[in-house]
Symmetry: D2
Subunit: 465 residues, 4 copies
């Protein structure tokens, strides 16, 4: 079956051009100048009129935590609700994080995640593996997973006793990555140092949500970024920082990048649009905004936008990790340390970044670059994903830049009882979504079935020199 | 008439994908996945088999000086020989520099250059205007030229008494550019300071070609880059540095770019491949290598390649400005100051950069980016030029990455009696060149006729936020 | 005649220690531990009790403009009133600036200044020469003046058409200084660029005093600092920046100093204590605060204090250049460009810096270092001046850290009709001043006679490696 | 008893001046201009003629390891031989490092060290405490030790499992120091990361001494410096880096210092004069040069000298930690990890730095500053030590800048069987040493008795703002 998306403006990292897109089955088979379809006498099985709309490669959210175990419970979106919400927001691929257990194997983690996703995912998905226990055995497994298309491994410099890898562990994983070509993803905060600040805060009776932010200073994010960068310099591992939240952290990345190193930065919409004052909201509302790194002073937002323009930040992902305000977040009523860390966000990334366009922070080409094209190249999905090009999967979003919408937990599609953007007005809206050629969202209805999403074997990062 | 270029690997700044390219008349009308042409029953008038070859957007050389008056003579390539040589090297668009005379108008300069190009150019071309006399009148003309598609203006911080604009003149031109959106191009060397060093060298009897290099220190290039950057910061003008030659200069650009400014850098093949030892060649051979800025110590080359990888350098252009060794360069036998400044180079840019690919300095995608895609966006030619996309001009190069060639003045196509790459072996060679759909080079024969090239009205830079 | 200053706390750049100081004639002949005088049976002709007071080397103000011609009039303090006011404020040596006339000689300028000072100066003084006309002849005179003990030469990158030296002139002067060891002092602002901003402001009808500040951006101070630093790097000349006013300028100096260059920075009390809001005072009061560089946003003050602590700023001098509010400053009622540039300040430097001590910005040792010790070493007066050491001139200040005073034009000793610190309360006050062994201020009375001050031949800077 | 040191040139951080120094008992009681003693009719009990010599404050070596337990043995100089050798080299005060045992107390360590020093030390001495076990109890002891005049605490980021403190421990110690004003001294190398490199080297069969250097990259020194600096920023603790060895480490310190932080750097003569090629000497001779951080490439030396000139390095100390080549160093014949870490050096510091003067790296004033004056102020010994001033202890060195000497293990006074400077010719030699007024070295004979040295209670650092 063939579908012609005609009349739209195709947006790529290079710019915006009027073009028609021909889809045959699951694949884009041609991109055509306006009128060429007629000249060629092309008669598609179906035509979608995209006049006045943008035609984008489907968004790729490389940082989600679906169905993630957390202290007896789980993050509240599973692969069905999470991927459906993603699709509503114009995201057609996610990469989620299987979590190695202490004493457990990486393979076990990946297998568990396959089980979570199989039969549920509405869009395509890949996996990064969280290395929570770096040891001889798990180091060897890294090579095995790379062969399975899990080509990136996340380490934590935060969360001592839980996820934190010590520097000798990080070095070992980096050496392995330098050998097998995988990318090391890093949560860069000095957790050991932060814990001391937290201890002092608690001792001083500071238990409200805002102290979650006040105990995690920017200096200790920048420190960890610097430290990881040095270890990557020594070992030769490609290094990707997840969820950078501050200008100082970006500055350290910028220095490494200016020096020509394979170092990359990601930020998240919450750091671009929310700030530490949200953490101080009364009536424990601040708990809704507890994520890690913490929301920062408002002045950091401009520095992050600048980092996105200068490419010192290369990717925007969501770190989607939803917990309900009731009951989940209530766990920390008396002690901010007990508040589950994480925000819902997978549904709004494309729209929020489009607001960056309307506000003049970034251009249209950069929007598509940081939301789809670079994520694809960064994590070995290109040219299958992230581009409107012949041969690519027909993951396509038709986006109406004029439409407006109001965000609310009442109407959003994530399985969570609040929204950090409650009541916000967006300009721009996803109109139609194709996933591997199938229209899964159109006319305000979602038609994708759970289980239709496929696991994506990924190659190595395509940004390394 | 339709042509199908089939079986090749299309290289774009995003990567490399197998695709067929359909050309109809002067325009690319479709890019198709392999096999799609057959599926669609497409029967082109002509098919070019590109199997095993790269299919590239034609190169864009944004820095040439053809038929340029110099002390009673002219640079030795005119628009016919120069654009033909460019085409041989896979370049399908150049941007040349009309030179305002002291006391003369910009329009006059542009008109003169139209006359030089009309009826001669074998490929398309645009103009930047050299502002040699910033005054009330020429400032007003800037707006007029922008309307004519001459959207960039070059100023000199070097050459006192000839081209040098003083800082107050630079400020005025920058304010104008900030208003009309044009890009200020800058030759950044502190010419006033350099002249003092030169004076001392001559007084000390140092007249050989190598003193051309020894009297133009890197510090005074970096200084000028810093100064211009500050003035751009104050005025808001977009700023593009031509022919950067040193790591320190790149560092200053990097700082400005990290700060989010509209500051861009160009380098040239001679700074990537040649060095100051060439200037010291015996028997006055060094004179062949006299260009400005001067060739640098070899260690600078790695810094420039790094700058190309980090995008602190965005463009590679040639500064093609050929003079014959006999008689032109002989003028400076007794005094390096009298040696005409400039090197031939327009023919070898694509090949030399491909050598950067084979040596691992850059990837294929970056090759096309710095040689075609970014030049197009930087100078307002995109999406007409610089991309293999439907709707774009069919300026296409079919490049054989396996072929080899040996460079020699005996066989090159530039109208000059020597080559700075004499005897070098290149891996890779331009096989076929289409310019606006017409095959102008194939099977080792050039078939483009003088005058077929069109003047390109350019829009403003497409890199500004 | 011998004098023993006993019981005080001697402050040096190394710290504070209780010690007695023995003066014999014009010279300090011994520094003694408390009680040692008695042990030695020393019977001085006179004893000054300094119990509870600081004993400091007399302040050295290396930047004054006394009796300076300005558009038909003169700065309103001559060598008598100016040096007397200096002494009231604890300064026992000044270095003033003979001004070369365009077309005139340096020697002529120095001779004129000798005539201004002879018979008038109440304290010792030296000269820096202002190079307003760099040419063959004045370059040669630099060597002659060095032999006369005028070992520093001031150049201007500001004031086109008046004092500005072009970069080629600066290079020539720097080469000369590199040869003869003199220090180049630089007024670092890009005057040519600033003039364009001023022209636009005037064209827009912006004529009030505050536009003096708004038309001289920090970026163009930092630019000039960077440019001069580069030229010093090329030529090898020692370089001292007068009156730095902004954090960005200090940052550039810091980089050069970190790189080990002979680059030094001075700031002035007005930049540490006043800000651009003063320039915006109503009723033309802003004119009182017009000096160049202009007063900056208040946030710059902390950066300058930091620079003083880190030694990126090494000296505090006043740039004392007083003009009366009526009639002098009135010249610019309708056009800020006509307001005479300059503030009165020579009397308050030591007190204002002591306020820096009481506010915790600097320590006592640093106070003496930036106000006396470093100025002496920087400009070749050490060990004769700037230190309480045996063999040094007995230029000594006894300072009461507990006393308070209120500043007012009614009571100050400068010959000017206003004070920029009108009504400020200071903690700390000069109690007694000795100049070459003579008590010239004590018990609230000045007893120094005009003409008692001697010209000081200076050696080269003692900070160069 | 009074002694007059007459005719010499007193060297201070401010410069060099001819002056006589009067000593009464243990104290300097007066510093006199030449001739003043006669004028005052002063008749000292003894006169030392210092004509043609420098008169210096006795050197202060703030980094020694005497009688230090190491794997069943001890560093081979005890407080008698070590302090005697120090005195031979013009050092009159040392600060040694009591070592807390794991599970032991700080007080116990200090008491043990008192026992080592009592009755043995020939010169004065103080203690820093090594925090090898940061816990509730030892944190509390920090306050107690500060009251005992042990005001600085050393932590290690190197040596996992032995001395390494984790970041949470470092934070705790820093918070305590921020409260009580003590200085945190840091061995800055990322030991955890280094261990991984070492493991790989050993696995590859690389066991020779040179691999001690090749496994400790500069990047991991710079990393640790950066990390500690960030933690000091968060906690507010004063921070002093011991034995910095590389330009990158100095650069990080420079940034922190430019930002106005209380961060200081020390280097050692071995990093200024020796290099990694020494580690590669044949016949296991390289083992003599094994110290930590390891000797670096020769190019680092110039960067360290520059750091000393710019004051980014403030102190030179020896890290004197001698082990005999036979038998001690032989332990590592088959595995560089078993070579005792440390070099002998306490005897040669002043002479080696004087060689820096004769080679033009530093001036005389800076020599005294980095070797005596700054160490005194940095560690709370000023004004008792580190200065030729009335009231100070009469710790005085008379130094003959013309004398020459040849270094050899045959003739040096350290209790170790080799010298890393064997056969070097020095220009300059200590002639006479007074310690608290007593001549302990003169005419080539040492006359100081063991046990005459006193423990010095130290105040807090005097460099903090």
């Amino acid at each position: 079956m063939t579908t012609l998306i005609s009349g739209g403006e195709v947006v790529s990292p290079q710019g915006v051009t009027p073009a028609d897109v021909l889809v045959d089955g699951e694949t884009i088979t041609a991109v055509l100048a306006p009128g060429t379809a007629q000249t060629l006498g092309l008669v598609p099985d179906k035509t979608i009129d995209a006049t006045g709309k943008y035609v984008l490669p489907g968004g790729i959210d490389v940082h989600t935590h679906l169905d993630m175990p957390f202290g007896g419970t789980f993050s509240v979106d599973d692969f069905e609700t999470g991927t459906r919400a993603a699709a509503w927001g114009g995201t057609t691929t996610i990469i989620d994080f299987p979590v190695q257990k202490k004493g457990g194997s990486l393979q076990e983690a990946v297998d568990t995640w396959h089980a979570k996703a199989d039969g549920k995912a509405c869009i395509d998905y890949g996996f990064h593996a969280i290395l929570a226990d770096v040891n001889e055995s798990s180091l060897k497994e890294m090579d095995v997973l790379v062969d399975q298309g899990v080509t990136s491994f996340k380490l934590f410099m935060a969360y001592p006793g839980v996820f934190l890898s010590t520097d000798d562990q990080i070095m070992q994983a980096m050496y392995r990555a330098a050998d097998n070509g995988a990318t090391i993803m890093m949560h860069a905060e000095n957790g050991a140092a932060i814990d001391q600040i937290v201890t002092r805060a608690i001792a001083a009776g500071h238990t409200e949500p805002k102290y979650h932010g006040l105990t995690r200073p920017i200096a200790l994010e920048a420190e960890a970024v610097g430290r990881a960068t040095r270890m990557a310099e020594v070992t030769g591992a490609p290094l990707y920082f997840v969820h950078l939240s501050s200008g100082e952290a970006v500055d350290v990345v910028a220095q490494a990048r200016d020096a020509g190193r394979n170092v990359f930065g990601e930020t998240c919409p919450q750091y671009l649009f929310l700030d530490e004052s949200d953490l101080a909201r009364p009536d424990f509302e601040g708990a809704k905004y507890v994520c890690t790194p913490a929301l920062r002073p408002q002045e950091e937002q401009a520095k992050l936008w600048r980092g996105l323009r200068t490419n010192d930040l290369s990717v925007v992902a969501t770190d989607h990790c939803p917990f309900c305000f009731v009951p989940d977040k209530q766990l920390g009523r008396d002690d901010f340390r007990a508040i589950p860390n994480g925000l819902p966000g997978v549904e709004h990334r494309m729209d929020l970044l489009h607001m960056g366009v309307t506000k003049g922070e970034i251009g249209l080409a950069r929007w598509v670059e940081i939301a789809a094209a670079t994520p694809a190249r960064m994590f070995g999905l290109y040219p299958r994903k992230g581009t409107i090009s012949p041969g690519a999967d027909a993951d396509i979003v038709i986006y109406d830049p004029q439409a407006t919408q109001t965000v609310s937990a009442q109407t959003h599609h994530m399985n969570v009882d609040y929204s950090v953007y409650e009541g916000w007005e967006f300009t721009g809206r996803v109109e139609t979504v194709l996933s591997r050629g199938e229209v899964i969202l159109a006319d305000g209805e979602f038609s994708g079935s759970p289980g239709r999403g496929h696991f994506q074997q990924r190659s190595l990062s395509q940004y390394l020199v």
